[in-house]
Amino acid sequence: MTLLLIEQLLNGLQLGVMLFLMAAGLTLVFGVMGLINLAHGSLYMVGAFAAAWVAAQTGSYLLALVASLAAAAAAGVLIETLILRRLYARDHLDQVLATFALILIFSEGTRAVFGSFPLYLTIPPPLSGPVTLPGGIEYPLFRLVLIGAGLAVALGLWLLITRTRVGIRIQAGAADREMVSALGVDISRLYTLVFALGAALAGLSGALVGTLQSVEVGMGEPVLITAFVVIVIGGIGSVQGALVGAILVGLTQTLGAFLLPLASTRLTGAPDAGQVLASMLIYILMALVLIVRPQGLMGRPA
């Protein structure tokens, strides 16, 4: 039981760091440009498909990951410069509609090119199979790699934002757009850069999660909605909030799905009630945060 619980804790952490890769881009784009981007899930899907295609062509997993970053960033730059740039000054309704329209175009476009059947990415042989952790727990190596990669990206992002010139500009751009512009920073290039960065992170997480599951049209939207839950819990615009929220949501989701059916079987003799409650658990968590702290755990009061 304890071993199973530790395994589920690790699974929750792995889900959490992957959610963070999605949520980080969303929250950065919202914090800096004030844009709510529903098409972030499409960028996740673009990354996964690019990786699956390149892996099938070349057989190299590393190249597949590079392709996921590049394709998602390129798609991000394309939609930012052509369409989204016009929407920064518009109200949220227009942003939601335009990015919803982009989801329709991306999803059906991908279906037209790759068909409706899922594609699969295989875990590269050196990273497949289980490892034995201290305490005798057998755990899939690839999931450990995902946890490590996610945490490394989180650290890199933190260094980028707090320690580099570009990062300072991003922070300044979020605080006061006109002032940054007046100081001679090309604000629209900065915006494109932020968008490409968020898109690349989404694409990477699409490729990594797509390796565990499958690559198919429509894979991005459930993750997008969960990422929304993450940033509502963490506080919109806060990257640290996104990290805390993502890990909280990852653990809640995984442990709920593991423990609640067990508890319900013990109490009522059937796992059903526990399964139903587990499926709602992260939204209940979100509701609780809204009651206690509507601006999110790390958000500033409006």
Binding site: L97, L104, E108, I225, I236
Partner: protein, 323 residues
Amino acid sequence: MIPERVFNWAVWGGLLAFALLAEALGETYWLTLAARAAIFAIAGVGLNLALGNGGLISFGHAAFFGVGGYAVGILATHAQTYTPLFGLIEGTQSMPVTWSVAIVAGALAALVIGALSLRTSGAYFIMITLAFGQMFYYFAVTWSAYGGEDGMSIYVRGGFPGLNTLDPLHFFGLSFAVLTLVLLLVRMIDRSPFGLALNAVRQSPARVETVGISPRRLRLAAFVVSGAITALAGALFADLNRYVSPAMFSWTISGEIMIFVILGGVARLMGPVVGALVFVALEELLGGLSDYWHIWLGVLLLLIVLFARGGITGALTREARRG
């Protein structure tokens, strides 16, 4: 350019005339399409009350659409199997009863979601309503007692006193009558002190608060009525298809209901009706040409957002959008 009043009557009369023509030609499929459009229009009119009048951008109205559908599905399942609900209440397929249950259930769901979501505003509100909608979706998927992922079939369409609901013309007439009543209700709300205050809250919450009206309570009331109307549409949709499934709760339904409103024109009485008619027509025409018609829907939506902000009603009538 035509006055909006004339345009509104033309849309209303146009839908009715289309259905009567279909009946005269014996095209029952067209009648079913017309009923589908009328039902979508009801859902859109419901959302428009929150979105257009209240300025509340709800991306979770599929929750209410699904709740309405499931109310009908659950009552019908109990009627079909002769097993009382909770061991107490007999199932039923009588539309006046199932509709009432759908409306109350939709209003309750909207009360809970609204009370929580309205603690925030702006982008938070959009994300939170979207998330709560998804919660209902997963709830329906895991709730195996009522079909889980497979949904529930309703073997015989619900009945309405004095009508044969299996006759496509009768069922269209019923949907059209509900649509008309809902439109009258929304017009009445629009002109009532409540509607005026709601418009004022959208434009300037601070001023409304200063005169002693609570913006949050007004918005919540509008959200509840909006949810109840959309639930009624869901109930009719369940009877139209004689089938309910978690797909009714899917986030794409929320998006589509929003498309009805935007395509037609936000905060205009007949906007969602026009939007739903155009949507069903596009689905039929483009869907026949290409399996990937959603691409063209996406392109159209993008063009409307970027270049034609009053929607179709705005482009065809001369009156500017209120507010």
